[in-house]
Symmetry: C2
Subunit: 280 residues, 2 copies
């Protein structure tokens, strides 16, 4: 195993590549794993996607993503359930045990955040049996609080752990994404708890760029380009016992316009200087 043995390319980082190109790029760069997105999987079909990854000798670290569980009307709830059951099936077929869940924001015109959060808890309860059947964990992703209203009503790692608490760790887990949690003064406590409970399913790294991009979703940056100190967070996750893949997942318009080979090389360089030294 090279020193890249835990580095996974989340293919959102190379958004302009199709699945075959992204898998090929990751393999050529010496990475052992990819994090997949469902839209790219659907383009080639589930069996074709599984074969592409397998033939390249890679593993799938996570599937992105399930979620969007906050609908309040019966039709919206049923649609979300159906979509998430399909996502769980796809994760199993792709050979990953981790479905990343971005749980959704407030329904249009609604401001009742507490009720939306209760509905997320209800939908998790509804989905757990299917997740258990498929051997796939629902991996709850706390998103940065600036997305609390429109993207994900889970805003802190502690809150994600509270939502996971009723279930075994192999059914509901969490992802620690530096962009979303770096600001949290309670992070050391929450990561320690996540490790103790065996619930860290994924560690995702990317930087937080300032100023916030016009499309706030695209403020994610290459490690080292923004304001995040990766050393203490990486040490927390390591000390919490996490030994799995480390996914680089960057939504950034400028990086998407950069040749993928160059992005992958920078990713590897920054991983080596900013992340790797803190994995022990």
């Amino acid at each position: 195993m090279t020193d890249l043995g835990r580095l996974s390319l989340n293919i959102a980082t190379t958004k302009k590549l199709n699945l075959a190109e992204a898998v090929d790029g990751a393999a050529r760069a010496g990475l052992p794993a990819v994090g997949l997105w469902r839209d790219r999987v659907h383009e080639v079909g589930l069996d074709g996607a599984a074969k592409l990854v397998r033939d390249a000798g890679l593993r799938v670290s996570t599937l992105c993503r399930g979620g969007f569980l906050t609908a309040a009307d019966p039709a919206g709830i049923e649609a979300a359930m159906e979509d998430n059951r399909a996502a769980l099936d796809e994760a199993a077929a792709l050979g990953t045990d981790s479905l990343v869940m971005v749980v959704g924001g407030l329904p249009e015109g609604d401001v009742d955040l507490a009720a939306a959060r209760r509905r997320v808890a209800d939908r998790i309860a509804d989905l757990v049996p299917h997740a258990r059947d498929r051997g796939v964990r629902l991996v709850l992703e706390p998103l940065h609080p600036m997305y609390a209203a429109d993207r994900a009503v889970i805003s802190t790692l502690e809150q994600a752990l509270d939502l996971a608490a009723p279930y075994p760790a192999d059914e509901v887990a969490v992802v620690v994404d530096t962009f979303h949690v770096f600001w949290d003064p309670a992070l050391p406590r929450a990561v320690e708890r996540a490790g103790r409970e065996g619930r860290i399913a994924s560690y995702q790294v990317c930087d937080f760029n300032l100023p916030i991009a016009a499309d706030a979703l695209l403020s994610r940056g290459m490690m080292g380009d923004g304001v995040i100190d990766f050393a203490p967070i990486t040490r927390m996750v390591t000390q919490a016992g996490y030994t799995g893949d480390i996914e680089v997942e960057i939504f950034n318009a400028e990086l998407w316009d950069t040749p993928a080979e160059s992005v992958l090389q920078t990713t590897i360089d920054r991983y080596r200087t900013l992340i790797l030294p803190h994995l022990h």
Copy 2:
């Protein structure tokens, strides 16, 4: 006392008015108080500002603001101390016991958030004696986590309370600003604690507008225009025992371009429908 007896105009809401105009506007609208900014006070001088407010029969709910305490170099630290001592003197002269503290972000090029937070704790310790002498509270403001790196390294109410904990409640307190805290799943617990400790010095209301403005500082909106549910937060603050002024503080380019009289009338209307019913 009318039903507006607790409503204060933070003069940042009517940014294009000078101090005399803002005070006059608030008084004509029937408001009993104003929240002042130091730049507007300096324009007319401290004695002149105090006289303007007094002559209009108003009180000063808070002075904005002290803070910017994260400098790491001796000159930066001394400059911050000097400025904050002056701000405390000004608050006392203006007759308010509340100096709102926006504590500052990371120094340029620095990513060590934990160290910046420790320096804030150190500077608070340095400032408390002068605050005590002046009879003015250092009112710590947790800012929305999207400003953690560049504006205020205090990101949650719980963190503000932890920083205040070593001091008596009449020396270090906190402000609850809906924009900054509405997303926080731990808010009920933190507001209850703030009330129990007697540390709620100010309740500031404004909405969180989406999409986030190009200048993220200007995403604040008129109550009812954004995604915040004011009922539960107002009830929390009320149940925590807060009976003081409620400041409307909105930075919003569109509102700044609207005639102030109209903004004040909308402020009063929205206060009556969205805040007032939950103050009991």
